[in-house]
C-alpha cells in the first residue's frame, strides 16, 4: 500500500468514526429509515415495480437530505476547529484529504441509505396479497430485478449527492456560511435545476428536443430518468419512458461527483 493510499484511508477512518459518533446524523438516518419503511408499508400488497415507483419520489427528496446531514460539516468542521490548519502541515495533499473524507462519509451514508431499502423489500416478500388457491395463478411481469436496479441507482445517486455536499463544505469559510451554502445548494439540486429547465422551456431557450440530454444536468432528473428508463420502462404495460438517455444521465451524475470533489480538493487548503 502506498503512503498516499494509507493516508487517504486514515482520513477516511477518521471521517467515518466522526459520523458514527454524530447523534444528529444518527437521528436523520433513523428518520429516513422510518419514512422509507412507511412509504413501503403503504404500498404493501403490490409488487416490486409498484414499490420501486412508490419509493422513487421519496428517495429523490430524502437521499440529498441525508447526504446533506452526513456531509455538510465534514470539511467545514475541521476548518472551524482549526484541525485543517494542523492537517495542512502533514504530507497530505488536498486531493487525498478530500477523497478520504468523501470515502469515510460515503461508507456511512450508503449504509444509512441502503439498509432501509433492503428492509423495505421485505414488505413485498412477506406481505403479498393472499392468493386464491382454487384459481390458477401465473407469473406476472413483476420481478425483484427492478428493485435491485433501483437499489444500485440509489447508491449512485447518494454518492453524487454526497460529493456535492462535500464540495460545498470545502468551499465554506465559516459555520454560518457553511450552513447557508449547503442549504442553497441543496435547494438548487432539489428544485432549482429542474425549475431552470422548466423556465428554459417556457422561454423557448431550450427546445424540447434537447431535453433528454439537458435533463442529465440536474442530478435529480438524471436519477429519476434512470429509474424510469431502467426500472419501470422495461416491464410496465402503459409506456413509462424516462425521456432521458441512460448514458447521458450516468455521465451527468459522474461529472457532478468528480467535478465537485475536484473543486473541493482545489480549494480545501486555500
Amino acid at each position: 500500500m502506498t503512503d498516499q493510499r494509507r493516508r487517504i484511508l486514515s482520513v477516511a477512518q477518521r471521517a467515518f468514526e466522526s459520523v458514527c459518533r454524530n447523534r444528529t446524523v444518527l437521528a436523520v438516518a433513523a428518520g429516513y429509515a422510518i419514512a422509507i419503511l412507511g412509504f413501503a408499508w403503504v404500498s404493501s400488497g403490490g409488487g416490486y415495480l409498484a414499490l420501486s415507483l412508490n419509493l422513487l419520489t421519496p428517495l429523490e427528496v430524502l437521499v440529498p437530505l441525508v447526504a446533506f446531514a452526513v456531509g455538510y460539516h465534514a470539511i467545514l468542521g475541521d476548518r472551524t476547529r482549526g484541525e485543517l490548519a494542523v492537517l495542512r502541515t502533514y504530507p497530505l495533499s488536498g486531493r487525498s484529504y478530500v477523497l478520504g473524507v468523501y470515502l469515510g462519509r460515503l461508507a456511512a451514508l450508503l449504509v444509512a441509505v441502503l439498509v432501509p431499502l433492503v428492509l423495505a423489500s421485505g414488505i413485498v416478500v412477506f406481505f403479498r396479497e393472499e392468493s386464491v388457491s382454487v384459481i390458477a395463478a401465473h407469473d406476472t411481469v413483476d420481478t425483484p430485478i427492478v428493485y435491485v436496479r433501483l437499489f444500485v441507482l440509489t447508491a449512485v445517486f447518494a454518492s453524487t449527492a454526497l460529493a456535492i455536499t462535500i464540495g460545498v463544505s470545502a468551499l465554506a469559510g465559516t459555520r454560518a456560511s457553511g450552513i447557508a451554502l449547503s442549504i442553497v445548494s441543496l435547494l438548487a439540486i432539489l428544485i432549482g435545476l429542474d425549475l431552470a429547465i422548466v423556465a428554459g422551456l417556457a422561454t423557448d431557450l431550450i427546445g424540447g428536443g434537447s431535453l433528454d440530454a439537458l435533463l442529465a444536468v440536474s442530478p435529480l432528473s438524471a436519477f429519476r430518468g434512470l429509474v424510469l428508463e431502467l426500472v419501470a420502462a422495461p416491464i410496465a404495460a402503459a409506456p413509462i419512458a424516462g425521456g432521458i438517455h441512460p448514458g447521458w444521465a450516468t455521465l451527468g451524475l459522474a461529472l457532478w461527483t468528480v467535478s465537485m470533489l475536484a473543486i473541493g480538493s482545489r480549494f480545501v487548503f486555500r
Binding site: L9, A12, Q13, A15, F16, E17, C20, F39, V42, S43, S44, G45, G46, G47, L49, A50, L53, N54, L56, T57, P58, V61, L103, G104, L106, A107, A108, L110, V111, L114, E129, E130, S131, V132, V134, I135, A136, A137, H138, D139, T140, V141, D142, T143, I145, V146, V148, R149, F151, V152, A155, L230, A232, P234, I235, A236, A237, A238, I240
Partner: protein
C-alpha cells in the same frame, strides 16, 4: 469499525447488485394453458353454460394471461374475450395480455347440430392453442346459446374443411380484433327502449280482454261462479257483483272474470289455491281475493322427475298455494285485483305475455312465514303499477327472460325484485323500502337492466350479478349498502347514493365493471371493497373532495381513492381534506396510478367530478334521508 471493511462490503454488494443490469427483465412471461375450471370465468350466462354442458354442446373458450394480473381469466365465447380485450379499461386494470389461448377444434371432429350448436366427436374435450397462431371461422352455421359462434382452429386446414361443411370465412386473431365490438352494457342500453315498448304494447293488447261482452252475471243468470264459468261461452265476460263468493275454480277457456271492485270478494276456505287459470287469454279484474292456503311450496300432481336442471325450483316453488295461478295461460291479464295471502299471490308457469297491473298483494307480516307476491316461472310477463306489502319477495322470477317489472311499490319484504336465471329483464321505476334487498339479481345472467328505481331503508339497495348488465339512474338512500356490484363487464351510471352505511360494494374478484357518473354523497363509507386488484372508475361525484378543477372541464385533477386510507376519511371529517393536501400524501400518491394490476384491492376514480352529475335528484335525495342507519 474499520472503514475499509465497510467500503469493501458495500463495493461487493453493489457490484453484485449491478448484475441486475445485465439481466433483462422479461416482458414475455411464458405461460402455459391451464384447465379452464381453474380460471376466473366470465362471458356467457350461467344458464347458457349449464344448458350447453348438460346437452353436450361445445362453447368455444378463451384463456387470457395478463402482464399485471396474477390470475388467469377464462371467457366463454370468443366474442366476449374480444370485446374485453378491445377495451382500454382492460389494459388499465390488468396490463397487456401476455398469453391468449383458445380452444382448438382441429382434430376434435367438430360438427354442427341441426339447431346450430357445436359438438365434437373426440373425447376428452378439445385442447388449447395460441390465439395468434389459430384460424377463426366466423359467420358459419355454428352458434352458442347466446348467438353466432366464432370457432377457433389450431390448424388452417381444419378450418378450411369446417368452412366447406358449414360456411363462414376464416380470419386471424389480429383481424378479429379489428372487427367492431360494442361494449356489451352499451348494447343493453340500446335494447332498453325496445323492452319498454314491448311492455307498452303488451299492456295495451291485454286491455282488450276487459272489453269482451258480458255473457253471464253471477247471481242473476247463474247462482255460483263455478256454474257461470261452466256456462259462459269463450271470449266473453263473466260479471260478479259486490258481495262474497266462496269458490275454488279452474278456468280452461278464454274468459274474463270481472268484479265490481274490491267489494267483490272471492273467498277461499283457507287451504289451497283459489283460481287456476289454464287457458291463454284469461283475465281477472276488479275484485279482491282472500282465504288462500298457507303452503308456500308444493309439488305438481303425478309428476315424474325428468332430470332437467331446474326441476327442484319449478316443482316446489311453482306449486305452492296462491290466489291466482296461470298455467300455460299465455297473454292473460290480472288488473285491479287485491290479494291477501299468507303464501303466494300470483303464480305464472309457462305463461308468456301475462300482464299484472294495478294489483295489490298483502302478504305476511314476517317474511319467513310468507312467500312470493308474484312468482314468474318461464313466463315473460309485465308487472306494473302494483303495490306489494309484506311476504317474502314481491316479484320472484325463475328463468323468466325478458320480464318487465316497473312502476311498482314494494314495502316490508325480504326482497323487492328477486331474479333467478333471468336475463334481458327490465326493472324500472319501482319504489322499494324496508327490505333486506331492494332489487337482487342472482345466478350469473346477462343483459339485465335495472333503471331509475328508488330503494330506501333496506339492507342492500340493488344487488347485481351476471354480466353485461345495466344499472343506471337508481336512487338508493339510507341502506346498509347502496349498490352491490357483483357483476362483470357491466355499467353502473347516473345512480344517486345518499346516506347509506356504504355507498358501493365491489363484488367479483375480476374488476371489469364500468362505474361512472354516479353521485355518491353523505354515506358513512364511500366504498366497501372485496379482494382483487385495484378498480379504476371514472367521472363520479363523491361530494367535496380534495383537489381542484384546474382546467374547467368539470373534472378534479387529483384522482380520488374512496377506499384509500386518507381519502376515505374525507367525507366524514374535514381533517381528511386537510391531510389529503399534505405534500407527504401527494408524494405517496404520485406514482400510484402507473401500475395497477399489481396493487391490492382499492378503488381509484381517475377523473372525479367537481359538481354533481344530477344536482336536482341529489338534492331531493339528500332531503329525503333521515340520517338514520339502514334497516337491517
Amino acid at each position: 469499525m474499520r472503514v475499509v471493511v465497510v467500503l469493501a462490503g458495500l463495493a461487493l454488494i453493489l457490484a453484485g447488485a449491478s448484475l441486475a443490469f445485465a439481466v433483462q427483465p422479461t416482458t414475455d412471461v411464458t405461460v402455459e394453458p391451464v384447465a379452464f375450471s381453474e380460471t376466473l370465468t366470465t362471458g356467457l350466462t350461467g344458464v347458457d353454460v349449464r344448458q350447453a354442458e348438460e346437452t353436450g354442446y361445445e362453447i368455444p373458450r378463451v384463456e387470457v394471461f395478463f402482464s399485471e394480473y396474477q390470475y388467469v381469466l377464462g371467457y366463454y365465447g370468443v366474442e366476449s374475450a374480444l370485446s374485453e380485450l378491445a377495451s382500454d379499461h382492460t389494459t388499465r386494470q390488468f396490463g397487456r395480455p401476455v398469453g391468449v389461448f383458445v380452444t382448438d377444434f382441429a382434430g376434435a371432429g367438430p360438427a354442427v347440430t341441426d339447431e346450430g350448436y357445436l359438438t365434437v366427436a373426440s373425447d376428452p374435450a378439445v385442447g388449447w392453442t395460441s390465439a395468434s397462431a389459430a384460424s377463426f371461422v366466423v359467420d358459419s352455421e355454428a352458434r352458442t346459446p347466446a348467438g353466432p359462434a366464432i370457432v377457433p382452429f389450431g390448424d388452417r386446414e381444419a378450418a378450411r374443411s369446417f368452412v366447406a361443411a358449414y360456411g363462414g370465412e376464416i380470419l386471424q386473431w389480429s383481424e378479429l380484433s379489428d372487427r367492431d365490438v360494442t361494449e356489451p352494457a352499451v348494447e343493453v342500453e340500446d335494447q332498453v327502449a325496445d323492452r319498454g315498448q314491448w311492455a307498452n304494447w303488451t299492456v295495451n293488447r291485454r286491455g282488450a280482454l276487459l272489453d269482451r261482452e258480458t255473457s253471464i252475471v253471477v247471481g242473476e243468470d247463474t247462482p255460483t261462479l263455478s256454474a257461470a264459468i261452466e256456462a259462459a261461452p269463450p271470449n266473453t265476460t263473466v260479471r260478479l257483483p259486490s258481495g262474497a263468493f266462496r269458490v275454488n275454480v279452474t278456468v280452461t277457456k278464454p274468459l274474463t272474470i270481472r268484479g265490481a271492485g274490491p267489494e267483490t270478494r272471492i273467498r277461499g276456505n283457507g287451504s289451497g289455491t283459489i283460481l287456476r287459470l289454464q287457458s291463454p287469454r284469461t283475465a281477472l279484474a276488479n275484485l279482491s281475493i282472500a282465504g288462500i292456503g298457507s303452503e308456500n311450496t308444493g309439488s305438481p300432481p303425478g309428476s315424474e322427475p325428468n332430470g332437467s336442471w331446474d326441476e327442484t325450483i319449478r316443482n316446489t316453488y311453482g306449486y305452492g298455494d296462491a290466489g291466482v295461478v296461470f298455467d300455460e295461460a299465455n297473454r292473460s291479464l290480472v288488473a285491479g285485483v287485491d290479494i291477501e295471502t299468507s303464501a303466494n299471490g300470483i303464480i305464472a308457469r309457462d305463461s308468456d305475455g301475462v300482464v299484472v297491473r294495478n294489483v295489490s298483494v298483502d302478504g305476511t307480516e314476517t317474511w319467513r312465514e310468507g312467500f312470493m307476491s308474484v312468482l314468474a316461472i318461464e313466463s315473460r310477463m309485465v308487472v306494473q303499477d302494483s303495490t306489494f306489502q309484506g311476504g317474502r319477495d314481491a316479484v320472484y322470477t325463475h328463468h323468466a327472460d325478458g320480464i318487465v317489472v316497473r312502476d311498482n311499490r314494494m314495502t316490508g319484504l325480504r326482497f323487492g325484485v328477486h331474479e333467478m336465471f333471468t336475463s334481458r329483464s327490465l326493472v324500472a321505476n319501482n319504489t322499494v323500502d324496508e327490505t333486506n334487498i331492494g332489487i337482487v339479481v342472482m345466478t350469473r345472467p346477462r343483459s339485465n337492466a335495472v333503471l331509475d328505481n328508488h330503494v330506501t331503508d333496506s339492507g342492500i339497495g340493488v344487488s347485481m350479478s351476471g354480466s353485461a348488465s345495466l344499472t343506471t339512474g337508481n336512487v338508493l338512500i339510507d341502506n346498509q349498502y347502496g349498490l352491490d356490484m357483483g357483476t362483470q363487464r357491466s355499467l353502473y351510471a347516473r345512480n344517486v347514493l345518499v346516506g347509506n352505511e356504504a355507498g358501493l360494494r365491489t363484488g367479483t374478484i375480476v374488476p371489469t365493471n364500468r362505474v361512472t357518473e354516479n353521485d355518491i354523497v353523505d354515506n358513512d363509507h364511500y366504498v366497501s371493497t372485496g379482494r382483487g386488484p385495484v378498480r379504476v372508475w371514472s367521472g363520479n361525484y363523491w361530494g367535496p373532495i380534495p383537489g381542484q378543477d384546474r382546467d374547467g372541464d368539470g373534472t378534479i385533477a387529483r384522482p380520488f381513492r374512496p377506499s384509500g386510507v386518507v381519502d376515505r376519511t374525507v367525507g366524514s371529517s374535514d381533517g381528511g381534506g386537510t391531510l389529503a393536501r399534505s405534500p407527504a400524501v401527494a408524494v405517496l400518491r404520485q406514482f400510484q396510478a402507473s401500475v395497477r394490476g399489481l396493487r391490492s384491492a382499492n378503488v381509484v376514480d381517475d377523473a372525479p367530478r367537481g359538481q354533481p352529475v344530477q344536482p336536482e335528484r341529489l338534492t331531493a335525495a339528500s332531503n329525503a334521508t333521515t340520517g338514520q342507519e339502514g334497516h337491517p
